[in-house]
């Protein structure tokens, strides 16, 4: 679900400006968290994971209009702070390819970054309770659900902008209905996408835990070791 393909000039100015402020705040906080880490070592890893996210986004499930994101995998591999930075980089690259507007960069980073942060948190909260596959899959489904609710919230508040078209009164009821319809569509079709994404993320993390387990316990996750 994770990022909105809404182009520039459609969302109300206050909303996308708020998105940029929120993104700047979280990005600043993330960079502050990373200040004591040897970033020279982490930048190649950051680039590799952000590029893998972009490649995964190439895989579109056409029937339901969903594409894989690997944002939860990025959160698990990079940690919440660097995961948020990877989400920002992926969104900048997408905007530079004309895929998504520049003005929605803040909101898109917030959505994608929240998946990385939440995915990492749930994955490590479930430590020792479930095998790696199920931990990653559960983290993905929960995260996607929350991110979809955030998306519906953003669309709901963005619809209070009929002034753009000069028909405030006419649109008041229609907006409520269309947000309900939008929510029904994204939650129903999206849930199919979450299950597919969960299966893929779970399999990816299981494969990594078997082939290169040290990736699940790198320096950003001190105290956590690679589990099978």
């Amino acid at each position: 679900m994770t990022h909105m393909h809404i182009p520039d000039g459609i969302l109300p100015v206050w909303l996308w400006v708020s998105g940029f402020i929120l993104m700047a705040f979280i990005l600043g906080f993330s960079l502050l968290q990373l200040r004591n880490i040897d970033m020279k070592r982490k930048i190649p890893l950051l680039g590799a994971v952000a590029a893998a996210m972009l490649v995964a986004m190439n895989l579109e499930i056409f029937i339901i209009g969903y594409h894989i994101n690997l944002s939860v995998a990025a959160g698990i591999l990079l940690g919440p702070a660097l995961g948020f930075v990877a989400a920002f980089i992926a969104n900048v690259m997408l905007a530079l390819m004309g895929h998504g507007g520049i003005t929605v960069l803040g909101l898109n980073t917030f959505l994608l970054g929240s998946e990385a942060v939440l995915g990492h948190t749930v994955f490590f909260l479930l430590k020792k309770r479930l095998p790696v596959f199920w931990r990653a899959a559960t983290a993905t489904v929960l995260t996607q659900f929350v991110a979809t609710l955030l998306l519906i919230g953003i669309v709901a508040v963005s619809r209070v902008n009929p002034a753009l078209f000069g028909h405030e009164e006419e649109h008041a009821g229609a907006i409520r209905d269309s947000v309900r319809m939008f929510a029904a569509v994204v939650l129903s079709f999206g849930s199919i996408g979450w299950v597919i994404e969960a299966a893929i993320t779970g399999s990816v993390m299981k494969f990594i835990s078997q082939v290169k387990p040290d990736l699940l316990g790198h320096v950003l996750h001190r105290g956590t070791s690679a589990e099978k």
């Binding site: 393909h5 000039g9 890893l45 590029a51 190439n58 390819m97 494969f207």
Partner: protein, 234 residues
């Protein structure tokens, strides 16, 4: 997703006036067109602006038909958004041109400016971690796309894709992505080792605005013209 390799080829090999303009002037151009799209409440000036950009792209020997095709991509989502608002032709027209006009400007920027130049400009205001991360992502992306294409060809040749079998396809795709991720991390680690030997100190993208060029008049003029159209034609 848009074909990144093709865009990169056009950006690196073109020699028209838009290619010769500085990255800063072209970024300013995109900013002006985005501002015009945000301000506009009338589809006609934006449609005129789109036509103007089409002429500028043709005159600058940019691949205008491909740029126009790429710019239509966000229109799909704009139209869906418009349909959900249940507006009339005016609203659909406005949403359509709000989507495609800035997208056209953005694609004009990326087909005429190599990514390292854009990152170099961004490095002047972005923190070092992000600037270097962008550069490293860009570098790794092409390697991964190539690896993904090879993986897709291999899996097809070995009968790994079964139309209709979601479980089997998902399983194969997952293994491919996992392998891709591991290979990407390994390559990145090796690259770090090579860079460290060569004296890498944490700084990768050179922070540079770039010198103004006499060709800057074209992007700045085109951007200002689109903005003026929106301001004057209400």
């Amino acid at each position: 997703m848009i074909d990144v390799a093709r865009i990169d080829h056009w950006a690196a090999t073109g020699s028209g006036p838009f290619h010769r303009a500085s990255a800063f002037s072209k970024s300013l151009f995109v900013g002006l067109v985005v501002t015009a799209a945000v301000m506009s409440k009338n589809p006609y000036p934006l449609a005129a602006g789109y036509a103007l950009l089409l002429i500028a792209a043709t005159a600058s020997r940019l691949p205008w038909s491909t740029v126009a095709l790429f710019s239509l991509y966000p229109a799909v989502f704009a139209v869906l958004y418009g349909l959900s608002l249940r507006g009339g032709a005016w609203m659909y027209g406005l949403l359509f041109f709000k989507a495609v006009t800035p997208a056209f400007a953005m694609v004009m920027l990326i087909v005429s400016t190599p990514y390292p130049k854009i990152f170099s400009l961004m490095s002047t205001f972005l923190p070092e971690i992000i600037a270097s991360g962008l550069f490293m992502t860009y570098r790794t992306l092409f390697i991964l796309l190539d690896m993904m294409n090879s993986f897709a060809a291999a899996i097809r040749l070995r009968g790994g894709f079964s139309p209709g079998s979601l479980a089997k396809n998902s399983s194969n795709i997952s293994k491919g992505l996992a392998m891709l991720l591991i290979r990407a991390v390994e390559r990145a680690t090796r690259l770090y080792a090579v860079m460290a030997v060569r004296g890498y100190n944490g700084s990768m993208a050179e922070a540079r605005i770039g010198r103004p060029s006499r060709h800057d008049w074209l992007p700045i003029g085109a951007g200002t013209a689109v903005l003026m159209l929106v301001v004057v034609w209400k």
